[in-house]
């Protein structure tokens, strides 16, 4: 059924970190099945959720993301044997940290979406978008970002010097 599209005053920016084997493929399936979901999400592809450094999530919030979705293969289905287990443990600890620094955990979602679950991908993205829309824009980290410049590379001369002395 075609529903009239609502116009919203606030369109949240959602960044999704996904693994290439399951969730990226699941999102592709949503596409080939012509399912519809909000256009708020931007997908970043990783080989595996194990590759996703929690720093990227902070970075995303700093960069103006209002919500972050991290999604990979179901436990046991990892293409790289066990990368998603490491990711799961890492993010379990990381959530606590985020909560401690005052990020509303409603803005961050972890999930498993397999290559066969196009529908689940649509649900996840739609759900998170609506949820974050209700929460309003994320302000805290944007202000921080102005003060701090994080290059992503640690090849600063100071560090290099420190290493050379080891």
């Amino acid at each position: 059924m075609h529903t009239e599209k609502e116009k919203h005053t606030f369109e949240p920016k959602i960044i999704a970190f996904v693994c290439t084997w399951c969730t990226y493929a699941g999102a592709d399936l949503a596409g080939t099945s012509r399912m519809q979901y909000p256009a708020n999400v931007r997908v970043l592809k990783f080989p595996c959720t194990g590759r996703i450094d929690p720093v990227f999530i902070l970075k995303a919030f700093q960069q103006g993301a209002d919500g972050v979705l991290v999604s990979g293969c179901h436990p046991g289905d990892c293409h790289y044997i066990a990368g998603n287990f490491h990711a799961r443990r890492r993010f379990a600890a990381f959530r606590k940290l985020l909560e401690f620094v005052g990020v509303d955990l409603g803005r961050l979602q972890f999930s498993w979406v397999s290559a066969a679950e196009g529908g689940k991908w649509v649900e996840m993205v739609t759900g998170l978008t609506e949820q974050v829309r209700g929460m309003g824009p994320m302000q805290e980290f944007k202000e921080l970002a102005l003060e701090e410049q994080w290059s992503g590379s640690i090849d600063t001369p100071e560090l290099q010097e420190a290493y050379d002395q080891i």
């Binding site: 960044i15 592709d28 293969c73 990892c78 990368g83 066969a116 080891i166």
Partner: protein, 665 residues
């Protein structure tokens, strides 16, 4: 300064219908570093690729972004094109504006803005891409085939005939699979055993096929060209090398009343047995659960009567490691059971058909055993309850299949044809009997298939009734079938002597566990997923692993054999080369930064991290750092996210590249 070229594809109308591609090309062209941007109807076509190559040469492009479909679709295509124009292929990236944009949004404006952002993100990423050298690895020219049904047998024979060694692993004590259980096959009514058993013997006698029956895959490591597979050979309690297959042990075994699963529990077998007389290998196995010797310690008759002394009660499971370069998965199917709660399944049974409690309600495979000349009744159709010949027989199609309610919404593909075959076999054997078939649709696409189905109606006088059955119940020694004929619009009731259910085809139990060992993906029903539904139907997304037969989806015998031969051909293509190029997506350690904590070693799923000593010129040990063996590294990047000093980087997914993407948003 980079000179990036951006190529936006219309994909016919697939992208341009919702995304304003000209606007995308124009907007992206304004980004710093972008030297050239254009759009084209079909980028992946020959002229499209030509356009790309020409631009690289004429515009002296340093990097390329193709905004088109999913990289899973055409990344290889475009990287090849880039390479032929003289650029390193890893300086080309794809922006997915079809699956992730034009196909999932309706609002043209929104979709266009999103597409611009996606392409912009990839532009920022590609700036940080580095030249990556291709890595070559040797190929072990041996193949593993998992499953010894018709699919596994065909694949193993084809590969072995091409001159390569094959390890064939079968879970049951004999190869043969489901096809060995069938009576006759559609649409020719060939005797299944007659066409199957010679192939089984060929496998047993082939000099290049190493056969492990009663064995399972324990563990798989490695990657394309270089897998290490651990096989568990379960304790057979009979030494295969010594056994001559004389069968005396089976004759003398005092335990005789164990239902034979090969005969769908219609016949009995002893505790030491071969599943069926034509078994390959013809070596018995002791069923330890039912053997008196194993239960009470007393007996030992089989050991006493065995001339060659092949019976060994002490035998234990053995683990064998086999190095192989390619794997063919051919694990086949199971039939759906209408029981209340089929074990280990979320799929519901059929209460309305009595949950399988009415003895003369059987499934199609049981009917095959009844009709088989080598079956428990010698090919005579009789009721399991009292041995009488059924005079009124009802077949019900789509039991479990196309039943969203029960948890399966697919069509099992083979049931229409085998039910038509069953009505014929029944009519040939019970001349005064009448067969009825309740069906929804007859799906008979295949050479000579529809003619076969029509023959069952026009010549063999089967009565086909369009409409499903609501309920079965026992009334005296009859089974009342409550159905309806929707063509006429009235209810139909038949008092049947026997009811045969065409139950759905499901993947083998444990298919998910095996997939996890192999690192391949599967769908929600646990059928294994092919890399591309149309263009790569026999390969898994995981390189070096191929699919054959019903483990990938319901299939009949001709389709299964075709796919098995196709999988074999893929293996031969791989084995035609001595060296294999692999994606250089591997981790590298920056030794200056490494503090030698070896967290990376702990998390590496491939065991690719080694310890490397760094010495000064005098030979004094300076420090121990991590080293990633590029041949073993799988490229998951878990080490990089774990490294506390950020000293290991995954090529192609460096922090720089990812941060550049995040920052572009």
């Amino acid at each position: 300064m980079s000179r990036i070229g951006v190529f936006v594809c219309h994909c016919g109308e697939n992208i341009s219908r919702t995304v304003d591609v000209e606007r995308v090309a124009a907007e992206v062209g304004k980004l710093p570093g972008v030297a050239f941007s254009t759009d084209y109807k079909y980028m992946c076509s020959d002229p499209g690729q030509g356009l790309l190559k020409k631009a690289i040469r004429e515009e002296r492009l340093s990097h390329v972004v193709v905004a088109a479909c999913s990289p899973r679709m055409h990344e290889k295509t475009f990287r090849k094109a880039v390479e032929s124009a003289g650029l390193n292929p890893f300086l080309c990236e794809m922006a997915n504006i079809r699956e992730h944009c034009s196909w999932v949004h309706e609002d043209r404006d929104e979709a266009t803005v999103k597409a611009i952002e996606i392409v912009g993100m990839m532009v920022e990423r590609v700036k940080k891409n580095r030249v990556l050298p291709t890595i070559t690895v040797p190929v072990t020219k041996r193949s593993l085939v998992i499953g010894g049904g018709i699919a596994g047998i065909q694949a193993a024979l084809d590969i072995a005939d091409a001159g390569h060694e094959v390890v064939l692993v079968e879970r049951e004590p004999s190869i043969g699979g489901h096809m060995a259980q069938l009576s006759e096959t559609f649409p020719t009514l060939d005797c299944s055993q007659c066409i199957m058993t010679p192939k089984m013997v060929d496998v047993a006698n082939h000099p290049r096929i190493k056969l492990y029956t009663y064995a399972e895959i324990e563990h798989v490591e490695g990657y394309i060209g270089n897998f290490q597979v651990t096989v568990r050979r379960k304790a057979r309690s009979v030494i295969e090398e010594k056994c001559t297959g004389c069968g005396v042990c089976m004759e003398k075994c005092p335990v005789r009343k164990i239902p034979n699963t090969f005969d769908r529990d219609l016949g009995m077998r002893p505790a030491i047995y071969v599943p069926f007389p034509q078994a390959v290998p013809n070596t018995p196995v002791i069923d330890r659960e039912n053997c008196t010797k194993f239960k009470t310690g007393k007996c030992g008759v089989c050991q006493k009567v065995c001339g060659p002394g092949a019976v060994d009660y002490e035998q234990e499971d053995r683990l064998i490691v086999e190095p192989v370069g390619a794997i063919v998965v051919a694990t086949g199917f199971d039939l759906y059971s209408i029981e209340e709660k089929p074990k280990g399944s979320s799929i519901k049974g059929y209460g309305e058909f009595g949950h399988g409690r009415i003895p003369d309600v059987i499934d199609g495979m049981t009917f095959e055993r009844l009709a088989s000349a080598s079956g428990p009744t010698g090919g005579k159709i009789m009721r399991p309850s009292d041995g009488r010949e059924p005079k009124q027989i009802v077949f019900i199609q789509c039991v479990g299949s196309r039943a969203r309610e029960k948890g399966i919404s697919y069509c099992s593909k083979i049931c229409c044809m085998y039910t038509a075959k069953h009505t014929m076999l029944y009519h040939h054997k019970v001349h005064d009997g009448q067969a009825y078939v309740f069906f929804m649709d007859a799906r008979t696409p295949g050479k000579s298939y529809d003619e076969f189905w029509r023959r069952s109606i026009e010549e063999e006088e089967a009565v086909y009734i369009r409409g499903m059955v609501s309920r079965l119940y026992q009334k005296g020694d009859k089974i009342v079938v409550m159905g309806s004929d929707i063509s006429v619009g009235v209810q139909v009731e038949i008092e049947a002597d026997m009811v045969v259910l065409a139950t759905a085809v499901q993947p083998r139990k444990g298919a998910d566990t095996l997939a996890q060992k192999l690192g391949i993906s599967y769908d929600k029903y646990h059928f294994y997923s092919e890399a591309h539904a149309k263009l790569r139907p026999v390969e898994c997304a995981t390189a070096g692993i191929y699919l054959a037969g019903a483990c990938q989806g319901p299939k009949d015998i001709p389709d299964t054999v075709s796919q098995a031969s196709a999988a074999a051909a893929k293996v031969m293509t791989l084995f035609a080369r001595d060296q294999l190029e692999r994606e250089p997506i591997v981790a590298r350690v920056r030794e200056t930064g490494c503090v030698g904590c070896f967290y990376c070693k702990k998390v590496c799923p491939y065991g690719a991290v080694e310890e490397k000593e760094i010495r000064d010129r005098q030979g004094n040990l300076v420090k121990v750092v991590a080293y990633v063996n590029p041949g073993v590294c799988g490229g998951c990047g878990t080490c990089q996210a774990t490294c506390p000093s950020k000293s290991v980087e995954l090529d192609g997914y460096t922090d720089e590249q990812i941060v550049a993407m995040i920052e572009s948003l």
